[in-house]
């Protein structure tokens, strides 16, 4: 009994020593690299921010408690929305033969975004998850640009596949008077199944309707892409996907890429238009293909 009690005390002491919190932000580029490991596995992070803030905490235990022995979570967001803002975060988790890896790059100007991530390592899991949301903010004459611009790039390597999702958005200063714009992305990487998604939603205010038009006269231009390949040899899972679907040989009835919207006031103050762009990908472990086409 005495020995067992002493063991628990030592373990509690270890817990206190290796649980910590970090916070940083800056108008210039600030970066941090961390590596945490124990007998169950390893978790590594590289974070870099410019005009953005990031805060995180990490718990490392000598044994599994409540489903984990290494746990990390972090949150980031834009600082001054009217300046160029960037957040770059790479996180990887390893347990046994499973390694999952996430790399995200978020950029914005006259727009805001938030970012959250979690990583969990135990003897039988190396899970990573993340979510991000963003909105636009009108530019002012004091900034370098009055346009709202935002882009995201999320690359996930898990279960033998690498999936890369990108999106971009550009909106004129008057956009927020007539429409609300939101976008986001998320991923969950596990040991049996992984998934990734991204979306952009453009909804006109009641009394305004949107319509597709040319880039010269549009208020908002946006589009997203996704690529997938086998991690081992780089063989594509399929040809690059676009939303909206472009007009090409594969899609003769496609819509056209990217999407540019105009906005017009209409008589009825109760009607509005919603434009939703979505991409989702779910995958499992599979045999490495050599032919390069899963369609």
């Amino acid at each position: 009994m005495i020995l067992r009690g002493s063991g628990l005390a030592i373990k509690a002491l270890l817990f206190l020593f290796i649980s910590y919190v970090y916070v940083f932000s800056g108008s210039s580029t600030v970066s941090i690299s961390c590596n945490y490991y124990n007998d169950d596995g390893e978790l590594s992070e590289d974070v870099s921010v410019e005009n953005a803030g990031f805060a995180g905490n990490v718990v490392i235990l000598p044994y599994e408690v409540q489903g984990f022995s290494i746990f990390s979570e972090g949150k980031g967001q834009t600082a001054d929305v009217h300046s160029n803002s960037e957040l770059s975060h790479k996180i990887s988790a390893t347990s046994g033969e499973t390694t999952n890896e996430l790399q995200v790059d978020l950029k914005s100007e006259n727009a805001r975004y938030s970012w959250e991530n979690k990583g969990t390592v135990s003897p039988d899991q190396a899970d990573l998850s993340c979510t991000s949301q963003g909105t636009i903010s009108p530019g002012d004459s004091g900034g370098e640009s009055e346009l709202s611009e935002a882009s995201s790039r999320l690359q996930a390597t898990s279960l033998g596949k690498t999936i890369t999702a990108e999106s971009a958005l550009r909106a004129s200063p008057a956009t927020t008077a007539v429409a609300s714009v939101e976008w986001g992305l998320g991923a969950k990487l596990g040991t049996h199944e992984s998934m990734l998604n991204q979306y952009t939603s453009i909804r006109s205010h009641p009394g305004y309707l949107t319509f597709p038009t040319s880039q010269q006269v549009g208020f908002i231009t946006t589009g997203m892409t996704l690529e997938g390949q086998y991690a081992e040899n780089g063989t594509p899972l399929f040809t690059k996907r676009y939303v909206p679907v472009p007009k090409d040989e594969e899609h003769p009835e496609g819509f056209g890429f990217p999407l540019t919207l105009g906005v017009m006031k209409v008589e009825d103050d109760s009607v509005y238009m919603e434009n939703k762009l979505k991409m989702s990908m779910k995958w499992q472990e599979g045999d490495v293909e050599t032919t390069g086409d899963g369609e």
């Binding site: 309707l209 038009t213 996907r241 679907v245």
Partner: protein, 179 residues
């Protein structure tokens, strides 16, 4: 007799918009037997568009020797906005004459989901007239018509160990309590 015709035909990709502002000034010497001006604006969208707008603002001033000048004004507009592609022909016709039969009319022939609809607004012209033909989801002119206001492009790809789906949806909606 004086006759003038303004005709404009436009065809383009995703959206069409033509706005014409026209001022007509006529000074007639005494004894002119007849006076007629026909104005016609026409816009044809044959390439499956989402938005089309045709607007004409016409001001006509007629001056005769020994009489007060007469100014007549017609503001006519036709626009169509839909979440799915459509074909349309929009026309604005204005007829000015010395008699009391001056008229203005706005017409639209609209093809949506394989069905064709025709809309018409007409009026006599006194001093000024405004004719607006607005066609959009849930507008009063569409009441009772079976129109689908959602348009979706999907792009699925699947394999033994993965599933991908991309989609783009345009949808017209109404707030609670809307008409």
């Amino acid at each position: 007799m004086t006759t003038e015709t303004h005709t404009r035909n436009l065809v383009s990709g995703l959206s069409l918009s033509a706005i014409l502002n026209i001022v007509l000034n006529y000074q007639l010497a005494g004894g002119a037997p007849e006076y007629i001006v026909d104005y016609r604006a026409n816009q044809t969208a044959e390439e499956n568009i989402y938005y089309s707008r045709l607007r004409s603002n016409i001001t006509q001033t007629l001056s005769k020797e020994g009489e007060d000048s007469v100014t007549r004004e017609v503001n006519a507009e036709s626009y169509i906005i839909m979440p799915k592609k459509f074909d349309a022909n929009q026309a604005i016709n204005v007829h000015f004459s010395e008699e009391n039969d001056s008229t203005a009319e706005v017409m639209a022939t609209f093809t949506y989901d394989g069905e064709t609809y025709e809309f018409y607004l007409g009026s006599g012209i006194n001093e000024s007239e405004t004719l607006n033909l607005y066609l959009y989801p849930y507008c009063p002119l569409f009441e009772g018509l079976d129109l689908d206001y959602e348009n979706a492009y999907t792009d699925p790809v699947g394999g033994d160990d993965f599933d991908y789906e991309g989609s783009f949806v345009m949808q017209a909606l109404q707030t609670e309590g809307g008409r």
